[in-house]
Amino acid sequence: MRTGSRLRGNPFLPVAVALAWCVAAMPCGAASLDPASPDLAHPRLDPAADAEVVRCEYRVVDGVVAQGFDRLVVMNRATMVYTARGAEAHGTSSILYGEGTEVDNLFVRVTAPDGRSRVVTPEKMVDQEVLRLGGMRLRRKTFVVPGLVPGSLVEVSSRIRMLDGWYVRDLFLPCQDDVPIRSLRVRVRPWKDRPFTLHSSVSLVPAEPPTTDAEGYRTIVVRDVPALVEEPWMPPFGRVSAFLYGEYGEPDVAPYSINRLAGRTGEGTDLRKVLPVPDTLAVIAKSIEGGATGLAERAERLFRHCRTGLRNLSFAADSASRPLPAAATMADVRPLQTLHRAEGTALGVNLALAGLAIASGLDTRLVLVSGEVPYWMGEAPSLASVARVLVAVARPGGWLFLDPGDPDQPPGLVDPSAEGVAAWLSGGGKVTDITMPRSPASASRLEREADLVLTPEGDVEGRLHVRWTGHLAAQERRAFAKLGAGERAGKALEGLRTRWPSAEVDSFEMVIPGDGIEPVEWACRVRLRGYAPAAGDLLLAPLDPFEELHVEVAADSSRRHPVHWDFSWSESDRVRIALPAGARVTPPRAPAAASMAGRFESDCSVREDAPGRGLVFERQAAFTCPAEGDLPAERWPELRAAIGASLAGSRLVAEIAAGASSP
C-alpha cells in the first residue's frame, strides 16, 4: 500500500536539491583519464549495467572571501557507456544553478571505441535562464555529448563556485547513481576557522580510512558502489543510499521563541506565561465548545474550529514541519490574533488551539517533536532538531495529540514522520521527554464493501463502497485532490478494471472532505458481465470482486532493501453476494490465517447468509510497524509468503448450481 519515497525523511533535502543537480548530472575530468588507468581495466561491476562510472572525483574547498562564505566544488567524472540506452542516458546533461553560483571550466570529452576523441566546444554548450521569479534567477548549462556510441568513454569536469548561499553551510554529496561507480574519491578542505565533521552514510563504506593531509584536505576513497535501485516499500533515501554529509560547528541555535515555548530558558514552563491567553479566549472557547461536556469532545470541537475555521497559510498538507523557523514570531504565538484574523501558519493554527484549550481549562501541553536525527550523531535529539509543534490535551488513559495545522491529520493522529520519534512535552510547570506513540493499524483503515446480486447467467450487479481513514485517507486525499473531477473515477476504478476490464460503472460518487477529519470514500453501482462463468451446470462465482492488493510487490521474489512502512494500517473486505432463487451453493473452504509475527496478520471467512440465499465473504489484514523498525531484506521471503497466503483468500470461488429462476 505504502511505497517509501527515496527522498522522504532525507534530512538534507534542501542541500541535496542544490548539489544533486550538479553532482548527478555532472561528472567531471579536467585531467584526461589515462588509458592505462586501473579504473579502466577494472572488471565491470554489473554486466547488466548500461554504463559505469569508472572514476569520479570531487574536490571541495570552503573559505571566506570579502563577500562572505565561499565554496568551490571541482568535479571530474569518467563514465564508460556500454549500451544504446546508456548512451541515451549519458548523452545529455544539465547543470542548474542560481545567483551567487558560477559554473566555469566546463569540459566534456568523448573517446570513441576506436580511440578517437572529441571535445564539446564552449559554443556548443547552452547557457539559459530558466526561471525568473521576483529577485530570483535560475540558470542552466546544457550540453550534448557528440558521437556517443556504446563503448565510448565520457569525461566531464566542471568547477562550481558558490558564494554566500544558504546552502553552503553544510555539504551534501550524493555518492550513488543509477549506474555503478568503480572509484569515488572525495577531497574536502573545510574552512579552517570552524570545526567541521564529515560523515558517511551507512551504505557508503570507504575503501581506505579517511585521511587528512598537510593542506587540510580530508580525503575519502570509496570503491565499487553499486547502482541505487528503487523498489516498493523502500526505506527513506537517507537510510539506504550512499552519500557524504559534512557540517560545521555547533548545531543551529533554535529560535528564541521556541526555546521559550519549550520552557528551557528559565522563563517558566507555565504555558500561560508563554502563550498570551487573555480572558477573551475563554469566552471564545466556551462559545466553540457549545455545551460539550466530555474532555475529548471539548478538545475535538476546539480542534475542528481551528482546522476548519482558520485559513491555513502554509503551503502544503505536510507543511507543519516547514514554517517553524519563519513562523515562530510573536504574531504566530498570539492565539487571539490568529483567531481574529481567521488565518495563520500551521504553527499559528496549532498555537491558537493551545490557547483555546488552556483558556477552556483543559490540561494542555505543547509538544515539540524532533525531526529525523541522522544516525551518526549518536546523541539524543536536541531542540535544534525540532521539526514541528503539536498540542496535547490530557484525557483519561493518556494524551490526545492534536495537529490542526496539518490539514491531513484527524484528532489523535500526527504525521507519520512524527510517530515513534523523540518529543518534549512542555507545560504544567515542567518539560517531559517522551516518545511519540505510533498509531495502531486500526487508525488507518481501508474498508471495501460490496453488495452484489448474482443472476442465473452469471453476471453480478450491485454497489461497491470503499473508504480510507487515518493516514491512508491523507494519502488518498492528496492523490485525488490533484485530479480533475473526471479523472477521479478513472483512478478510483483503475484496480477494479484491471481485474474486470468489462466492468460497467455508474452513479460514481466520491467524497473528499476538505477538513482532513472525515474519511475519503467513493461508491458506485457496478455490473460485471460474465463474473461467474458457467461450467456445465455450475456457476463459479469469485467471492472477492475487488482489486487484489500488493500483488506486484509480492511478485518480486528477491529484495535489495529492508521492508519499510511509514505507518501501520489495516484492510478489510466485506462482500455479500445474493444468489439466484433456488441456487445450491458449495462455499469454498477459507484458507488458514496468515501471519508474520508482529508485522502482518490476515484472515478471511466465508459463510452462507441464509441457506441458498446468499454468501458473505470477509477478509482482514493488518500491517504493523513494530518498534524494532524495518524488516531486514533477508526476511522478505517470510513476509512475501504470508502475503501470498493472504491473497489466496481473495481468490476463493464458490460453486453454485443453477436455480430455477432469478430472485
Binding site: T498, S502, A534
Partner: protein, 656 residues
C-alpha cells in the same frame, strides 16, 4: 462600557462576519470582473474550476505585430482546480513586449478583501531551444487560494509572430461561461477564419473589427466526446496587401514553397556524399540501398536543440553534415540527413511535414505550417517496390515514407501514429498534401502460443511464446530499448500477477522474430492454481489474459478520447493437456462477434487428452464516430464476458 458587553463585541469580531466590511470588499475588483463574479448560475457544476469570463482583444498592426489584451475570471471550485488553474502566456524575448500579468484573488467569503496574486513566474518554455528566447509567464492562484475563491487576471502582450496566422485555443480546459474575442486588423488585409480541427467560422474580407462571443464552451475532453475532435482552436489567417504577404499562406503549395526555400541547401556536403557512397557500396537492390542509407539517421540519438523557435526555427534543420558529425538530432535533422544521403546516392527525396497525434488533426482546408509537429522523409521508388510505407499515385510517383526519428520502426513501415494522417511533401511550389499509407490489423499483430500441462491437483506449467509484427513489434522493441530485457520481463511478471493471479513467469527472453521486422519472447510459466478443484473432484480452468487483446481488453480506453482506434490484432493459441483419466465435460461455445470496429473469434477443438483454444481479437482501426463510442464499449464488454469462459473436466470416462 461594561465587561460583558466588551467581551461580546470581541467575540463578535472573532466569530461573526463583520457586516460593515462586506460592501467595501469588492471595491478593489475591476468592474468587468465584478459582473462576471456576480454570475451565480450552476454552469460547470462538478468541474474543478469554471472560467466565468475569457475576454481577448487582439489588434494586428500593419507591420504584422499582434497586441493582445486579455481579461480572465476563473472561479476555483476544488483543490484540483486551484492547482490546475493558471494563466500562462508564451512570448518570444526581444520580440515585441513581454506580457505583464497581474491579478487578484477574490476570497469566497463576502467580507474578505481581495488580495493581489503572487508575481508571475517567468520560465523557459522550450527546453531544447538554444537561444532561450521562447519563454512563458505563469500567473497562479497562489497558496492562499481556497475552493470557492475567484482568480481575476489581466495582461497585455505584444508579439511579432513568424507567420501571419493566429491560432487560439478556444476551450481553455475548464468550462468557459463566456468567451469574448475582438479582432482588429489593418485596412486592405484579407482575413480567413475557421474552427480547427473542423467547422466554419464567420469570416469577412472587409477591413475593420469583428467581435465573436461564445457562451458555455465545454472543456476539450467533452468536446472530443461530443464528436468535435479534441481541443478546439480558433484560427485566423491574414493576407496583407504588401510584402508581409510572404508570411501568409493561401494554399498548401504556398506552404511547401516556403518550407522548401527555408530549408534549402542544408542537406549536402562532402561528408554526406562520402557517407552515402560508403553506405550503398556493394548493395544492388533498390530496397537494400535505401535501407543502408536509413541506418545512420535512424541510429542517431534523438536530441532536440532548437535554434530560434521564435523566428520559425522550429522548422529549420541543422545541416546534414553537422548531424552526421555529431551523431544526434531531432526529427527534422534526421529527416534532412536521410534526404541528403538519399540524394547523394542518386535517389529523389523530399522532406515531409507531418503530425503525430490524431489521424485527422491536420485540416486540409487550412493551409498552414502550424498544423504540423513532426518531420519525416519521402523517397521516390520504382513501382515494383512493395512495402506498407509506399504510397502510389502521387504527383511524384510512388513514394516510400520513412520516419528516421522512430528508432524502433524499420524502413518500409510507418509508426501507427502517422499511418493514415495527412502530410505535406515539400517539393517547392509543387508540394502536395497526401494521406500517408495505413496498414491492416493483420500487419500489426501479436501471436501468442501457450502450452499447458495440467496436473490432477490443478497445478499447471508450460511454455509461452509471443511473436509481434509491424507496429506491435515496434512497440516491443521500444519497450526493450527503454527498459532492457530485465525491466521488460519484470513488467510482464507484474502485469501477469494482476491479470492472472498466482501465475509465475520464468526464463523470459526476447529475440528477433521474422527478420528485423518481428520481435519474439519465449518463457516458461507455472501456476499452482491454474485449475480449481471442484467439490465433485473435477477441475475447471479459464485462460488468462496474456496480452492486451488488441486493445479490446478494457471497456473504456484513453484512445477513445481522441476518437481513433489502432489497427491491430492479437491471437492466443492455447494447447492444454489434461491429466490422464479425465475428460472434458463442458467448454464455452465457439464464438464469432464481428462488427464495424472490432471482432472476436474463439474456436475450441479437442484431440485425445488435449484441447486447443484459439482466440483472436481484431481492432479494425480508424476514427470512431462519437455516436458509436457507446457501441464500441458495449462490444468490448461483450467480448470481455465471452473471454471469461471456462473449461470443465471430470474424472473417469465420458458418458456415452
Amino acid at each position: 462600557m461594561s465587561r460583558p458587553v466588551l467581551l461580546a463585541l470581541v467575540l463578535a469580531a472573532v466569530l461573526a462576519v463583520p457586516a460593515a466590511s462586506v460592501a467595501g470588499a469588492m471595491k478593489d475588483v475591476p468592474e468587468w470582473a465584478r459582473a462576471a463574479i456576480a454570475d451565480t448560475s450552476t454552469f460547470g457544476a462538478g468541474a474543478d474550476a469554471v472560467v466565468l469570463l475569457d475576454a481577448r482583444d487582439l489588434r494586428v498592426s500593419n507591420d504584422g505585430r499582434v497586441t493582445t489584451h486579455v481579461r480572465r475570471v476563473i472561479r476555483l471550485l476544488t483543490q484540483a482546480g486551484i492547482e490546475q488553474a493558471d494563466c500562462t502566456v508564451y512570448y518570444v524575448e526581444n520580440q515585441g513586449r513581454p506580457p505583464e500579468l497581474s491579478g487578484l484573488l477574490v476570497p469566497a467569503a463576502a467580507d474578505a478583501a481581495p488580495r493581489p496574486l503572487p508575481p508571475a513566474a517567468d520560465l523557459l518554455a522550450a527546453h531544447g531551444e538554444v537561444r532561450g528566447e521562447v519563454r512563458m509567464r505563469v500567473l497562479a492562484p497562489g497558496p492562499r487560494a481556497r475552493p470557492g475563491d475567484v482568480m481575476v487576471a489581466e495582461w497585455t502582450h505584444e508579439d511579432a509572430p513568424p507567420f501571419l496566422a493566429i491560432d487560439l485555443v478556444a476551450n481553455l480546459g475548464p468550462p468557459v461561461r463566456r468567451s469574448e474575442l475582438r479582432l482588429d486588423w489593418p485596412p486592405g488585409w484579407t482575413l480567413t477564419s475557421r474552427w480547427l480541427p473542423s467547422g466554419r467560422l464567420d469570416s469577412t474580407t472587409a477591413a475593420g473589427t469583428r467581435t465573436w462571443v461564445f457562451d458555455r464552451l465545454d472543456p476539450p475532453g467533452e468536446a472530443a466526446r461530443g464528436g468535435d475532435g479534441g481541443p478546439r482552436h480558433l484560427a485566423f489567417a491574414f493576407a496583407p496587401d504588401h510584402p508581409l504577404r510572404a508570411r501568409s499562406f493561401g494554399s498548401w503549395e504556398d506552404v511547401s514553397a516556403w518550407f522548401t526555400d527555408y530549408v534549402a541547401g542544408r542537406d549536402g556536403g562532402a561528408t554526406v556524399t562520402t557517407s552515402a557512397s560508403a553506405a550503398v557500396s556493394g548493395v544492388e537492390s533498390e530496397r537494400g540501398r535505401i535501407a543502408a542509407l536509413s541506418r545512420e539517421p535512424q541510429a542517431a540519438r534523438y536530441v532536440a536543440l532548437e535554434v530560434g523557435l521564435g523566428r520559425g526555427g522550429g522548422y529549420l534543420p541543422r545541416p546534414a553534415a553537422e548531424v552526421l558529425d555529431m551523431g544526434y538530432g531531432d526529427c527534422k535533422d534526421k529527416a534532412n540527413l536521410f534526404s541528403g544521403l538519399a540524394k547523394a546516392a542518386g535517389f529523389r527525396a523530399w522532406l515531409v511535414l507531418a503530425s503525430v497525434g490524431r489521424r485527422d488533426s491536420v485540416c486540409a482546408s487550412w493551409p498552414s505550417p502550424q498544423q504540423f509537429n513532426h518531420c519525416i522523409c519521402a523517397v521516390a521508388v520504382s513501382d515494383s517496390l512493395d512495402s506498407p510505407a509506399v504510397l502510389r499515385g502521387t504527383r511524384l510517383g510512388a513514394l516510400l515514407f520513412f520516419d528516421a526519428t522512430d528508432p524502433d520502426t524499420p524502413l518500409g513501415e510507418l509508426p501507427l501514429a502517422l499511418q493514415g494522417s495527412l502530410a505535406l511533401v515539400a517539393d517547392g511550389g509543387r508540394g502536395q498534401l497526401v494521406r500517408l499509407p495505413a496498414t491492416p490489423p493483420s500487419a500489426n499483430r501479436v501471436d501468442w502460443t501457450i502450452t499447458a500441462a495440467l496436473e490432477p491437483g490443478g497445478r499447471a506449467e508450460g511454455t509461452v511464446r509471443s511473436e509481434c509484427f509491424g507496429a506491435a513489434a515496434s512497440a516491443r522493441r521500444s519497450a526493450l530499448r527503454q527498459r532492457g530485457e530485465a525491466g521488460l520481463a519484470q513488467a510482464f511478471v507484474y502485469a501477469l500477477a494482476r491479470r492472472a493471479p498466482g501465475t509465475v513467469l520464468a526464463d523470459l527472453h526476447f529475440g528477433a522474430g521474422d527478420g528485423d521486422r518481428g520481435c519474439r519472447a519465449d518463457g516458461r510459466w507455472s501456476s499452482s492454481t491454474f485449475a480449481r478443484t471442484l467439490s465433485d473432484g473435477g477441475l475447471v480452468f479459464g485462460l488468462p489474459s496474456w496480452g492486451e487483446r488488441a486493445g479490446l481488453r478494457e471497456a473504456e480506453r484513453d484512445e477513445e478520447d481522441d476518437g481513433t482506434l489502432a489497427a491491430r490484432s492479437e491471437t492466443e493459441r492455447c494447447l492444454v493437456r489434461w491429466p490422464a483419466g479425465m475428460h472434458l465435460v463442458s467448454a464455452p461455445a465457439d464464438t464469432s462477434i464481428v462488427t464495424a470496429f472490432a471482432s472476436f473469434v474463439r474456436r475450441t477443438r479437442t484431440a485425445g487428452d488435449s484441447l486447443v483454444v484459439e482466440q483472436t481479437w481484431t481492432s479494425l482501426g480508424g476514427p470512431v464516430p462519437s455516436d458509436s463510442l457507446q457501441v464500441l464499449r458495449g462490444l468490448r464488454r461483450r467480448i470481455g464476458a465471452e473471454a471469461r469462459g471456462v473449461w470443465r473436466l471430470a474424472a473417469g470416462e465420458p458418458k456415452r
